[in-house]
Amino acid sequence: MDNAGEVKSLYKSRNEKKEEATASSEINKMGEVDSFSAEELDRLKIISGSMQNSKILNIFRELRTQLLKANKKNNFVCLVTSISNNGGGSYVATNLASVFALDKAKTSMLIDTNLYAPSLSKLVIGEAKAGITDYLGNTSFNIKDIVYATGIPRLRVIPIGSYSEGAAEYFSSDKMLHFIDEIRSKYSDRYIFIDSPPITDSSEARILTEIADVVILVVPHGRATYEQVENAIEIIGKDKLSGLVYNN
């Protein structure tokens, strides 16, 4: 929202500094670049192991435990979608990925598929040049080119990219399936989280649920009626839907 600009300017100054200091380490993009400070994490509303508000941290830990319990497989693809726009889907997806990444034995990957309100590029330290749409729409991109390190240890992010026309078709393509399979099978300790557009008013979300192993539906406070939630549950299907998260 309106704090996005502020956050961006913060990164800019930071990036400038970094470019001066670590210009030679660009090849090390996949490695641990840098960590966000506690202040930055606060601003981005991202949980961390050292955060003061342990209540929220514990809530996400509990959520992690429940997901792991329900899915005995090593790693899974989890789609996080919301009932409506600004419903907190991205927030839940980011923090879910973060809480998985807190475990040093696990890594997590966050894929931004929210064409209408992409938000994950702010996690990237440095400039996010390309994203998933670029990869799907253009054969010249490699997976490597679109995966970025973030200010959070063990968390990788794939931003939306700039090639957004006909995105629904990209997501339903074989290439997308291959792509997901590839990043899942590469590391067995990698958990993949897809930040999806709202389920009720976009076809992309419906397509993406086919790809995902589990789905989490975020119900925002005061924005969805009971019928809408019922409707959304029906679209996703009860076998895939892991559960609801109520976002105040």
Partner: protein, 510 residues
């Protein structure tokens, strides 16, 4: 509804208010200024009241006590209300207070009268006190109207009193005349009766009868006595001889003879016949016997001679005989006289009985006449007394002293308006604004279908994995603080404008 649920609802409502803070502020301002506007145009209302005391006593009541049936005690308040609400009175009030010419048509005036009637309230306070209150838009009008109403009412009621008491006096006066005529008539009749009735009273007759009876009884006893006396006198006369003579000698001899014989028989018990004493006694007895024989012969001769000549020297008249004879004749004379008297008394008694019968016959007539007279006289006297009272009441009423309504508590000019005043509206505005906003938000939350409580999700059959609280970061806190500051400034701005407007309106700038 338990406590937690209330807390939940309060939180949700506050959150909604915060979410729509500017809208809420706008609503608050709108409602407050609206109330202020209503206050500006709200007509002020003045009310005042007067208390009158209604003397419960009808003027006829003391005059006609017990004698005539009085009409039941009416509801005094109702009477006063009816009188005050009567068009006659209200028209007088309008004439006094308002300009009569200001009414264009009769309908307009009629409507005004009806309006006035609705605003005059008559309420009983108990114990004869009646409160009359009136309310109007201005203080002066209110005061003038209530004074006029009370004044007109009291004057009218006094006037009615005068008429009433005058009528009462005339009525009683008329009655007095009628009773007087009746009394005169009764008196006349009684007099007539007395002049023809000479038999006297019952008691007189009774007394004379009993007196006669006593006399007759006494006379009868005395007659009996006389008759007995005559009988015994006659018997005595028969026994007594007309003349006394030898009889006395013979008696003496006989007595002596008896004595001598007794002595002789006593002596013979002890002595023989030849004892000298006995012999002497025997001679003596012989002598006596001879003497008795001689005297008896003498007596025979005397009685033969007496038949021939009435008086002889030897024959002496017997005084006892004479006495008895004179007594007898006297008693016989008395007896005759008494018998005559008895007859006379019996006659009298019979007459008295007849008289008594006559008196009894006329007694009923007399009782009726007397009763008529007494009753009429009593009522007449009573009426006369009451007539004087009525005259007094009438005089009092003519002088205005005997009114039954008087002002107990005069009306005061009202200084402050009653009911809702401008200040009330000024104070009420912000409160109503706040309540309206809160109320609307509560209604919105209750009616809005969107989910605001995580508990609602339980019914979906899908587990709720987590409930994420509202995240407060230092950054959002700062934003909130900023918003708060803006809201506060806006609130202060609104309130300043509000107070300024209220003050200006109060001072008459607007």
């Amino acid at each position: 509804m338990n406590f937690t649920l209330i807390i939940q609802y309060v939180t949700v409502v506050l959150r909604e208010i915060w979410l729509h803070k500017f809208l809420c502020l706008f609503g608050f301002a709108l409602v407050s200024f609206f109330i202020l506007g209503v206050g500006v145009f709200w007509p002020s209302k003045f009310e005042t009241s007067a208390t009158i005391y209604a003397d419960n006593q009808n003027i006829l009541k003391p005059l006609l006590q017990r004698q005539a049936a009085q009409s039941s005690v009416q509801d005094q308040t109702k009477v006063v209300r009816d009188m005050m609400h009567s068009p006659r009175m209200l028209n007088k009030v309008i004439e006094q207070v308002f300009d009569v010419d200001s009414f264009e048509s009769a309908e307009e005036k009629e409507a005004f009268v009806n309006n006035l009637r609705g605003k005059i309230k008559v309420k009983p306070l108990g114990a004869g006190y009646i409160k009359i209150s009136y309310s109007d838009k201005t203080s002066g009008n209110t005061y003038a109207v209530i004074n006029s109403v009370v004044d007109v009412f009291i004057k009218a009621s006094a006037e009615e009193q005068k008429i009433e008491s005058r009528e009462a006096f005339l009525f009683i006066d008329n009655q007095v005349k009628q009773y007087k005529d009746q009394l005169v008539l009764a008196e006349e009749r009684l007099k007539e009766f007395h002049s023809f009735n000479l038999d006297g009273r019952d008691a007189d007759v009774d007394a004379s009868i009993s007196r006669l009876r006593g006399q007759i009884e006494d006379l009868k006893i005395s007659l009996d006595e006389d008759r007995t006396m005559i009988g015994s006198l006659k018997k005595q006369l028969d026994d007594e001889s007309e003349y006394s003579g030898k009889k006395f000698k013979a008696d003496v001899y006989t007595d002596r003879l008896e004595k001598l014989e007794n002595n002789k028989s006593a002596l013979l018990m002890n002595y023989t016949e030849d004892y000298p004493d006995v012999v002497s006694l025997t001679y003596q007895i012989e002598d006596i016997k001879n003497a008795i024989r001689e005297s008896a012969e003498e007596k025979k001769e005397q009685s033969g001679e007496q038949a021939g000549s009435s008086g002889s020297e030897e024959n002496i008249l017997n005084p006892l005989y004479q006495e008895l004879r004179s007594r007898l004749s006297q008693v016989q004379r008395d007896l005759k006289a008494k018998e005559k008297r008895l007859n006379a008394l019996e006659d009298l008694k019979t007459k008295e009985f007849k008289r008594r019968k006559r008196i009894a016959e006329r007694g009923a007539e007399k009782a009726e006449l007397t009763r008529d007279y007494t009753v009429t006289k009593r009522i007449y006297e009573d009426m006369l007394e009451r007539k004087e009272k009525a005259r007094l009441s009438m005089t009092l009423n003519v002088e205005g002293q005997g009114v039954t309504y008087r002002i107990q508590e005069p009306a005061l000019p009202p200084l402050n308006p009653i009911g809702l005043r401008f200040l009330h509206f000024v104070l009420l505005g912000p409160f109503l604004g706040v309540f309206a906003v809160i109320g609307l938000v509560v209604v919105y939350v209750l009616l809005d279908q969107r989910i605001r409580f995580p508990d609602t999700l339980l019914g979906l059959g899908v587990p709720t994995l987590a409930v994420i609280p509202h995240v407060k970061t230092p950054f959002t806190k700062r934003v909130v603080r900023m918003d708060m500051l803006i809201c506060l400034s806006l609130g202060i701005l609104i309130m300043s404008a509000y107070i300024g407007l209220a003050y200006a309106s109060k001072m008459g700038f607007i």
